[in-house]
Symmetry: C2
Subunit: 231 residues, 2 copies
DNA sequence: ATTTTGGAAATGTGATCACAAAAATCAATA
DNA sequence: TATTGATTTTTGTGATCACATTTCCAAAAT
């Protein structure tokens, strides 16, 4: 039984234990560092983060409601298995959700916030240039999140994050077998469209960003990756 | 402190306590029987369903991850307040999600399943005819759920249900102040389109069903309802 | 009358314990 | 050697308890 490895994570004070457990597990899943099928035990996790079963269970419940984990009939908890079909559904859903989120942000976003997007994008390009995949991934997420949350009444962000979470295991597999993730982004296109307040163009840029980014994997490539991972 | 009223609910055996608590609270929220702002206490709920804090807390965590509940800074838990803006976001999101879910179900649904949709729709019409709003609501949900889950790899259903949950409080308010919910539905249109395997027409029927149903409330009417409820 | 303040009650949180079910281990048998 | 069966260990679950924080309420002060 291999011990669970969990990246330590800063814990702001006032943060409850279950919240901390949730964040730490979530981050691990998001970057694909927990393998589908790997058995997660409550006591194991509690021990790994030096706490007790109660708050860990709360974290696991939340993650299962977010689609990041699946409870089996045995009541065992695991990261859902990835299939080519599921991957396709996730990408299609991601595109629909984020197109919509982007479109509804256009009316609310300020020039100041667009400037912030530019900052994030250049930081991401630098990370890509120095082949720092982890940082690039985080900055890419921050770009999208900053855009979508410009809408103050926005409700969609938790769902977008749920899709990101569910794509995590695929990222993990891809990173293991492909040297580096090919990063195309259409962020500049999105920024230009935002400046012009052209909602359709923004939505289309985000759509292309997703479809040509992680969504660009060919079905054959996906099945190949999954076959490699299975063994 | 008014005691919490919770509809008793059948508990299939093998169902865990936290799961049961989750389902019961979820159903109460979904039909709007818990008012926004009403304070929910863990011990209160535990007492109401004759269990203990631990499983109730797990249920509350799940519901907050599903957007049905919100944890305040006080760590108090409540049903989110409804505003006209939030309502608008929810309806727009609901339309986008369900159009997509419907479209992606078309290729998978069987004639047998379409027959089932017809059954559900006629049962709903009967419920509407006898002014049985609660049953009509449930059957309407079952219609949509049956359609969307025809796609075996579907991933979107939890998100659709999350939106339904978040609309719950509005339903509660509307039911209190409007004698009966005006039920227009475009189900027959959707069924006809399904028989023809016309994905665009299915999506459009679902879109109309949502926009002319609960989404059809005018902004003025919404603000009026919310003002009435506040007092 | 309004505000302040003190303590009592209520509440969220997390650790621990006991129990039952599931999984794993190992010995005995075919 | 493979398989069955019993025992041991592991695991999920939920009740309970102790602690810290917040809320509530009444009495006192301004």
């Amino acid at each position: 039984m291999g011990a669970l490895i969990l990246e330590p994570l800063a814990r702001p004070d006032g943060m409850t234990t279950h919240e901390y457990a949730h964040r730490r597990l979530r981050q691990a899943i998001m970057v694909g560092s927990i393998r589908p099928g790997e058995s997660l035990t409550i006591r194991g996790i509690a021990e790994a983060m030096e706490s007790s079963p109660t708050p860990v269970r709360e974290a696991l419940r939340r993650l299962s409601s977010e689609g990041a984990l699946k409870v089996l009939d045995n009541r065992r908890i695991m990261v859902p298995k990835m299939t080519a079909e599921r991957f396709g559904e996730l990408i299609a859903l991601r595109a629909v959700l984020e197109k919509h989120a982007a479109r509804r942000a256009v009316a609310h976003i300020t020039e100041r916030q667009i400037d912030r997007l530019v900052e994030i994008d250049t930081a991401q390009d630098e990370a890509i240039a120095r082949k720092d995949n982890a940082t690039a991934l985080l900055l890419n997420q921050e770009f999208h999140r900053t855009l979508y949350t410009a809408n103050p009444d926005q409700i969609i962000m938790p769902m977008v994050e749920s899709v990101w979470l569910q794509l995590g295991p695929f990222l993990g597999i891809a990173m293991e077998h492909v040297a580096l993730l090919y990063f195309v982004d259409r962020h500049q296109e999105a920024i230009a469209a935002l400046r012009k307040r052209d909602a359709d163009a923004v939505a289309e840029a985000i759509n292309a960003d997703i479809c040509e980014g992680i969504g660009g994997f060919e079905r054959a490539a996906i099945e190949n990756l999954l076959r490699l991972a299975r063994q």
